[in-house]
């Protein structure tokens, strides 16, 4: 068989990505039809930049979801004769497999296209959740620091500045290592960091519903049961049912990324809180005699949502970059993992001769982060229009 040209490669890739195109078309059709009823999300479809960003992000989200249908080969299996194959090379002996390596093969004769698609799953499994936990920690500590001030504020700000003064890369070198995984450090840090979301939701619901004990008990009880169940599994690997769990590698990476991100979120939330707490509606709530946590969680936080949503998108992008950095230095990833950072790292050894193995994941990572940044820009623009 002949090697195929770039037109056919692109055509075949588009064919493989068919589920993604369909899902994107459905999402856009629904969103644009009812955009006036969808609040800030709907307004996103008024801005071209926002739409492009949203499309890029959703492309990778759907690629990660449908990865099993999209991949042409097993991302881990090696196929003889395909070492460093150029894009569009045919398989020597297809025998029931897909006939071509669409984006070529890497130094271990694995399919670059399939690894790139599977890499999306690796990244999107961690980045949004790490960003979410960082946000909950930043909010839970930033609100009281900004609203109450005093010693608490001084202490928390000092700790946040301490972490921020640490060069990120040094922290990664020190914190993400096999030797560290043998110690209790990641588990202890996870134990402290992961309890915060549970406390966050408990306080959030308790502050709102404590006047209606029946509903309060129901909501808080549900949060406690689910939260502590997930907490026991994720932080200590003690889930009795085995639903929640993280490998030591993943936990190590997760903890390091959250640890780096949380202080920045803390500073943002604290700054916004300092601004909002002087508003009249906060004074009105204080005069009504509302509790401190109610004012923080239900008066200040909802009014701070604009900048926080924007920063959340940016932070997922930054987390993606951090994960790529970790992979690039071979920190905390399994040796065969198809994640983009380590694929770039493996590809760079033969970069000047066979660039395709490193270029594909590099462009994938860039397009995802670009999408998130454009999405954040669109959201900022639309939320400022009110």
């Amino acid at each position: 068989m002949e090697a195929i040209g770039w037109t056919e490669i692109l055509g075949r890739m588009a064919m493989q990505l068919l589920p993604v195109w369909l899902a994107l078309a459905v999402v856009f059709a629904i969103s644009i039809t009812w955009k006036r009823r969808l609040g800030l999300y709907g307004k996103l479809f008024d801005s071209r930049v926002g739409m492009v960003g949203f499309a890029l992000v959703m492309f990778w989200v759907f690629a990660a979801l449908f990865a099993d249908m999209i991949v042409t080969h097993d991302p881990l299996s090696q196929i003889s004769g395909m070492r460093n194959a150029t894009p569009g090379s045919p398989l020597r002996d297809p025998s029931g497999r897909y006939e071509y390596f669409l984006l070529g093969g890497d130094a271990l004769a694995r399919d670059v296209f399939s690894r790139m698609v599977m890499g999306a799953r690796e990244v999107l499994r961690i980045a949004p959740f790490a960003a979410m936990i960082s946000f909950m920690i930043g909010i839970s500590l930033g609100l009281p620091a900004g609203y109450l001030g005093g010693r608490l504020d001084t202490g928390l700000t000092f700790v946040a500045n301490l972490v921020l003064a640490f060069p990120v890369i040094l922290l990664f070198f020190l914190l993400v290592a096999p030797e560290i995984q043998e110690t209790a450090i990641p588990r202890v840090m996870a134990g402290i960091l992961f309890i915060v979301p549970v406390l966050f939701f408990t306080v959030l619901l308790n502050a709102r519903f404590f006047t209606q004990p029946a509903r309060r008990n129901l909501y808080v009880g549900a949060v406690m049961v689910v939260g502590l169940w997930a907490y026991s599994g994720l932080a200590f690997n003690l889930d009795p049912l085995g639903v929640w769990g993280m490998s030591p590698n993943l936990l190590n990476v997760f903890v390091a990324v959250v640890f780096v991100n949380a202080p920045t979120v803390f500073r943002i939330v604290r700054g916004i809180t300092l601004d909002i707490k002087t508003r009249d509606y906060v004074a009105a709530a204080q005069t009504r005699g509302e509790g401190t946590w109610y004012i923080m969680m239900w008066e200040i936080l909802p009014n701070a949502r604009g900048p926080l949503i924007v920063d959340f998108c940016l932070r997922i992008g930054y987390t993606t970059i951090l994960l790529g950095t970790l992979g690039f230095f071979g920190l905390g990833v399994a040796s065969e993992s198809p994640d983009w950072g380590s694929t770039i790292n493996q590809g760079r050894r033969l970069l000047t001769v066979y660039p395709h193995a490193a270029i594909a994941p590099a462009l994938a990572l860039m397009s995802l982060v670009l999408g998130l940044n454009l999405l954040a820009d669109g959201l900022r623009e639309e939320s400022l229009k009110d």
Binding site: A165, I169, E179, T183, T325, F328, P355, L374
Partner: protein, 363 residues
């Protein structure tokens, strides 16, 4: 002002102590010491031999005591051998074995930084030349980055919402979305590969003599920096930082352009170029100045990536090697340098902000 400086420096010292202790703690975990013993004394030694090696080399004391030794506030460990010779931290530091000849304390305060196990040299011999190499790289990166970022930001911000603004803002966003390991890889593939990108095309047309346009390896830049071996590393670092500074400049410029005094100047009939250059620019550059200073430590991650990617043996590459080989004393010294750079740039940015902006006072 003096009180402000004194307080800031006090906080800086406390921060530096905390950070170095964290680094010390993480590099001196039992598992890491075991790795160190195995790399130093042979990889197949038994657990008992590891323990005795650690004991002989003074690693068996409490963590705080050894941190104190490293700082130079606690007397260094000593031990008398069977034949009457004395060894100890300070005896090794000065290369002597006579009892009582070495000073009691030897650490940072006495100017002793320790030995690098990876490079088999003393730390003061390893770090300064590499720091110099990185300084050169950073200097060129800043020379490229700052003017470009300011020009892009000012052009975009002087007419907010115009087509120029949209194009330049998208460019700035794209640049912040391209981390160094992506842009570096793309640059190498595009400009420094003999089989792909532009180089084969240019060389077949006879426009360039060498097989590649730029070199993808910057090791030769250590002897002599040329346009060919230094362009790609510099561009890679500059690109990622540029977008952020440009966006801050744009926001700051856009805000200044809505001020009353700009409107007054326009009504007086001052030309647009004059308004931008004479009236707006100075005030618009206050915010970017702080951001540029704060960018310098942030560039450190980029420096490590770029130096590893282009095999340029500078400070970042040394940090990477020290971390990979668990070279404790080199890693500690490197982190002291990194932390000092971070804290100093923060201080300079604060002072500069006050100095540039008379509306803000430190008291």
């Amino acid at each position: 002002m003096l009180l402000f400086l004194a307080r800031r420096i006090g906080v800086m010292i406390v921060t530096a102590l905390c950070l170095t202790f964290i680094v010390f703690y993480l590099t001196n975990l039992p598992a890491k010491l075991e790795t160190l013993a195995k790399t130093q004394a042979g990889s197949r030694i038994s657990d008992a031999e590891v323990a005795s090696w650690l004991d002989r080399n003074g690693y068996n004391q409490p963590m705080l005591a050894r941190y104190g030794e490293w700082l130079g506030v606690v007397p260094g460990w000593t031990r008398v051998d069977g034949d009457g010779d004395v060894t100890g931290r300070c005896y090794r530091a000065h290369g002597i074995t006579d009892p009582g000849a070495a000073p009691a304390r030897c650490g940072l305060l006495q100017g002793y930084w320790g030995e690098s196990t990876r490079f088999r040299a003393s730390v003061p011999d390893v770090i300064p030349p590499r720091l110099g190499a990185t300084g050169l790289l950073m200097m060129w990166a800043l020379i490229v980055m700052v003017p470009m970022a300011l020009i892009v930001g000012v052009l975009a911000g002087m007419r907010e919402g115009s087509r120029t603004d949209r194009t330049l803002s998208t460019f700035a966003i794209a640049s912040t979305a391209t981390p160094e390991y992506v842009s570096g890889v793309v640059f190498i593939a595009l400009l420094a590969s003999s089989t792909a990108g532009l180089s084969p095309l240019l060389s077949s047309w006879g426009w360039i003599d060498a097989p590649v346009l730029f070199q993808g390896n910057a090791r030769s830049a250590l002897e002599q920096i040329t346009f060919w071996n230094f362009t790609l590393p510099v561009m890679t670092i500059a690109l990622y930082g540029m977008g952020y500074v440009a966006r801050i400049t744009r926001a700051s410029m856009a805000e200044v352009m809505t001020q009353q005094y700009i409107r007054t100047a326009r009504l007086k009939g001052v030309s647009f170029a004059n308004i931008v250059l004479r009236h707006a620019l100075r005030n618009a550059l206050i915010a970017p100045f702080t951001v540029i200073m704060l960018q310098i430590p942030w560039l450190l991650t980029g420096v490590v990536i770029v130096e590893v990617l282009f095999s340029y043996p500078g400070f970042g590459w040394t940090l990477f090697e020290a971390a990979v080989n668990n070279d404790i004393e080199l890693l500690l010294a490197a982190s002291v340098v990194a932390v000092i750079v971070v804290l100093l740039t923060q201080l300079i940015s604060d002072i500069g902000y006050v100095w540039l902006n008379p509306r803000i006072s430190v008291t």
